[in-house]
């Protein structure tokens, strides 16, 4: 009964891919801020094809045939999640994001890959956090856990974590992203209370609230950061002792160059040229060494593979493309380093077990 529809909708999809790839190339260049507004005026015109597809076999037919091209394009957008801080922002990466700031929540659109990746990363984060908790409330397994989502974009990962009961702060340097995220969560009263968004950098958060989070999530971020060492240090500072750091990123291998750069950007042209920098990809070994040297002990590294035909991600033994890592901050500080002075003091104060009200204020900070 539904077979007849697949042909017409995949035909529609092909047109849609052509249109969106033209749209993608338009987003390049100096007319970016203007084109951001053009995107808004584009939407009513591009709607007819969106809604004619919406009427017929939505999700299933989308995954067939020509969706593969669209998938490769989407494959790269997650990683232009850019990162801002005084030292780690890359302004060239901001531009591509701005153009698509309102497309975050289209589950079938450019960010479909990220939506799909939630099937892997949310259970990954949830299960590893539940190991640290003795008992959890059914229905709200992560309740009482404070999470910082660095580079949250439109809140794709922030919202599921909020639904599971955690209190999440999502930060992103692109104000448009935060605006989209804020707008999206405003409709759900439960999420509205549990999630807070801020358009700021990681350094700014760490200045305000060091050692405040049970978990820090940096999903599809570290491949866009200029200084990985500083970034990891800041993440570590934001964590409580014993807190967890979750990272998902892309490996720096020939395969990731072939598929992520050559195929997506240069051959098919779905991804605008220059958006990915292969040199900034991080191998798991390098990541592990940086994590270990900052006092984070790596618990898990697992490969993730995307199947463009089905649209689903899978766990894999192979980490040569995408991978996820989980590290835990050690509970003891060995050498207090200048930037960790504050933390070192609180450790000493705890050891002294003082009831001095002045000290208690220090502890409360």
């Amino acid at each position: 009964m539904w077979r007849g529809r697949k042909l017409s909708s995949s035909g529609n999809r092909f047109l849609g891919v052509l249109r969106s790839s033209c749209w993608g190339t338009q987003a390049e260049g100096a007319r970016l801020t203007r084109s951001a507004e053009n995107q808004f005026s584009w939407t009513p015109q591009s709607k007819p094809w969106v809604f004619s597809d919406y009427k017929i076999m939505w999700f299933k037919s989308y995954r067939m045939t020509f969706a593969c091209l669209n998938r490769m394009k989407i494959y790269r957008y997650p990683w232009t999640r850019l990162y801002s801080s005084q030292s780690t922002v890359d302004s060239s990466e901001i531009k591509t994001f701005l153009a698509l700031a309102h497309r975050w929540w289209d589950e079938q659109g450019v960010y479909a890959l990220l939506h799909s990746m939630n099937d892997l990363r949310v259970p990954f984060i949830r299960d590893n956090l539940l190991k640290t908790v003795a008992q959890h409330q059914p229905g709200k397994p992560l309740s009482g856990i404070k999470i910082l989502d660095v580079g949250c974009g439109g809140g794709l990962l922030t919202e599921p974590l909020g639904r599971l009961g955690a209190s999440v702060i999502g930060i992103d340097p692109v104000a448009e992203n935060i605006k989209t995220a804020q707008h999206h969560k405003s409709f759900d009263p439960v999420l509205d209370k549990r999630i807070e968004y801020r358009a700021c950098s990681l350094e700014e958060i760490v200045e305000e609230t060091a050692e405040a989070f049970d978990a820090v999530v940096a999903s599809e971020v570290v491949e866009h950061v200029i200084d990985l060492e500083t970034f990891i240090q800041c993440c570590c500072q934001a964590l409580k002792p014993g807190g967890s750091l979750f990272i998902t990123t892309i490996n720096k291998t020939q395969l990731s160059y072939a598929l992520g750069i050559v195929f997506s950007e240069q051959i098919t042209g779905i991804v605008p040229k220059g958006t990915h920098t292969w040199e900034k990809f991080v191998s798991p070994e390098k990541l592990e060494s940086i994590l270990e040297s900052n006092g984070l002990s790596v618990q898990t590294v697992a490969g993730m593979l995307y199947n463009p035909f089905s649209g689903y991600w899978h766990w894999s033994e192979n980490t040569s493309l995408n991978y996820a890592a989980h590290a835990v901050k050690s509970t003891e500080q060995e050498d207090p380093v200048p930037e960790f002075v504050f933390k070192g003091e609180t450790e000493e104060l705890r050891h002294k077990d003082s009831t001095n009200p002045g000290v208690q204020e220090e502890l409360k900070k």
């Binding site: 009964m1 539904w2 939407t43 009513p44 709607k47 007819p48 969106v50 809604f51 919406y54 009427k55 076999m57 939505w58 999700f59 299933k60 497309r103 929540w105 289209d106 589950e107 079938q108 659109g109 939506h115 799909s116 939630n118 099937d119 949310v122 259970p123 949830r126 409330q137 059914p138 229905g139 709200k140 397994p141 919202e159 599921p160 974590l161 909020g162 639904r163 599971l164 009961g165 989209t180 707008h183 999206h184 409709f187 759900d188 009263p189 439960v190």
Partner: protein, 469 residues
């Protein structure tokens, strides 16, 4: 702007007249504007109530808000009525498992039900028959009155009323669907306008409102349907003598199948699908004549022809030669002595199948998605199967923190169920058409087919397994 308005689907239905005063279980005004329900089930029949119950008892739905909308009044029983209701369902073991998963099976067992261990299906035009039973004579299924199931479900819903709100006498008039992704200021939720003018918002709407589903029509989902030229007559019959009565009997007459389902040692339920005229006649004829008609329908060999008889004997001989089987001689159903007054009712039959079971923020279950001929006793079991599958997908989605209305898991439910339901629907329709004729070539074909199927035990087991899900 115009494009946006064109997309939202509006369906105005005539407002039901004479709505009674609001029941105290409605919570409105202050909370209303802020409350976004996680799931709203529209339609409180067997399948809709089972869905609401299953979600209410699901561990991952602990802090979610569920609402069940039922257009009719709440049915309460102080005690079980002595007379049996004439609407009964055959509950498969799979459905019984679902009901027991939220504790509704024990109340049913405490009220009344009848397990049957064997099923005999035979033809009126030949000697061919097929006998289904489980190896160790386990229960194949259960015959339970629909009212009993409904009562058990209501009881279980009351027990979980902090999570599941039930609104009786509430008919949804209009549904407003959200846009595919967030547009400035448009609500991403489904809005439901009720008869009293109030509006609900929900993240997922489940349509369980029967084969004339308002939800399905409002969503504009195509429905492949046709009416059979048959009506079903149901009645509660008194048997002439008390027997063990744990066998379900079905005979295919040229006019349609007649089935006798055990209710107790002395009572059985009749489901006779026949032409509209004959059905009307059956319902209006006097009791004695009705009883005689039933008995002769089961016992008479008037439709047998010599040709078919000899053909079937030949195949039986061949089968016996190839494979020494236990002799399944045709057994005769118990004879009927009387019928409960006022228990004769008729209702029309048809087939229906929705082209899509799901849309963003919408899922159809039960008769809203598929409507089937009662000859296989699968209608409500397919509905319970839908409930089982959808609860499984929603539970996993809730545990992953997903948006409940997201197509990613709804599409999984649709694939699961369409595969199963389409096969069953096609098979039932095929059987109905095959057995509606007394043309010799087809009779020969089905006689031999039935005999062959009866001889091949693995095939019978597969059929039983498929139907028990």
């Amino acid at each position: 702007m115009a494009a946006r308005l064109a997309v939202s689907r509006w369906r105005a239905a005539p407002a039901a007249p004479g709505r009674g005063p609001l029941l105290s279980c409605r919570r409105w005004s202050g909370a209303k504007a802020d409350t976004v329900y996680d799931v709203v089930v529209s339609g409180g029949g067997l399948v809709g109530a089972a869905m609401a119950c299953a979600l209410g008892y699901d561990i991952h739905f602990c802090d979610k808000k569920i609402l069940l909308l039922e257009a009719g009044p709440k049915k309460v029983w102080e005690k079980l009525p002595e007379t049996y209701s004439n609407r009964v369902s055959s509950i498969s073991p799979g459905s019984a498992t679902l009901l027991s998963s939220f504790g509704a099976w024990d109340p049913i067992c405490n009220m009344r039900y009848r397990a049957f261990r064997r099923m005999q299906v035979w033809d009126a035009c030949s000697e061919a028959l097929i006998m289904f039973d489980k190896d160790n004579l386990d229960d194949m299924g259960y015959i339970v009155e629909n009212d009993v199931i409904m009562c058990a479900l209501t009881k279980q819903l009351e027990a979980v009323s902090d999570r599941v709100t039930v609104l009786y006498r509430s008919k949804a008039l209009r549904y407003t669907w959200p846009y595919p992704f967030t547009m400035a200021d448009s609500s991403p939720w489904v809005h439901i306008t009720l008869g009293d003018g109030s509006t609900l918002q929900t993240k997922l709407l489940i349509g369980a409102d029967g084969y004339n589903s308002g939800v399905r029509q409002a969503a504009g989902i195509q429905n492949v349907s046709w009416n059979y030229d048959q009506s079903a007559v149901v009645a509660t019959l008194h048997l002439s003598e008390a027997t063990e009565n744990n066998v379900a009997w079905q005979r295919f007459l040229p006019s349609g199948p007649i089935a006798l389902l055990p209710l107790s040692d002395t009572l059985s339920s009749l489901v006779w699908s026949t032409s509209h005229d004959h059905a009307a006649e059956l319902v209006s004829m006097d009791e004695e004549k009705f009883v005689d008609t039933i008995n002769s329908a089961f016992w008479s060999d008037a439709n047998h022809t010599d040709f078919i008889d000899s053909a079937s004997t030949m195949l039986q001989y061949a089968v016996g030669f190839l494979k020494p089987t236990k002799v399944s001689a045709r057994q005769m159903p118990p004879s009927v002595a009387g019928v409960d007054a006022k228990s004769r009712v008729l209702f029309p039959l048809g087939l229906g199948h929705a082209a899509e079971y799901v849309r963003p923020r919408l899922a159809l279950i039960g008769d809203a998605a598929h409507r089937v001929h009662p000859l296989a006793g699968q209608g409500v079991n397919m509905g319970f199967g839908d409930v089982s599958s959808l609860v499984h997908h929603l539970s996993a989605a809730a545990f992953n923190g997903k948006d409940l209305g997201s197509m990613s898991h709804l599409a999984g439910y649709e694939t699961d169920r369409q595969r199963h339901n389409t096969a069953l629907l096609a098979a039932t329709d095929l059987l109905k058409r095959l057995y509606s004729t007394s043309a010799t070539p087809l009779v020969l074909l089905r006689t031999w087919g039935l005999q062959a199927t009866n001889a091949v035990s693995p095939l019978k087991e597969q059929i039983m397994a498929f139907a028990s899900k």
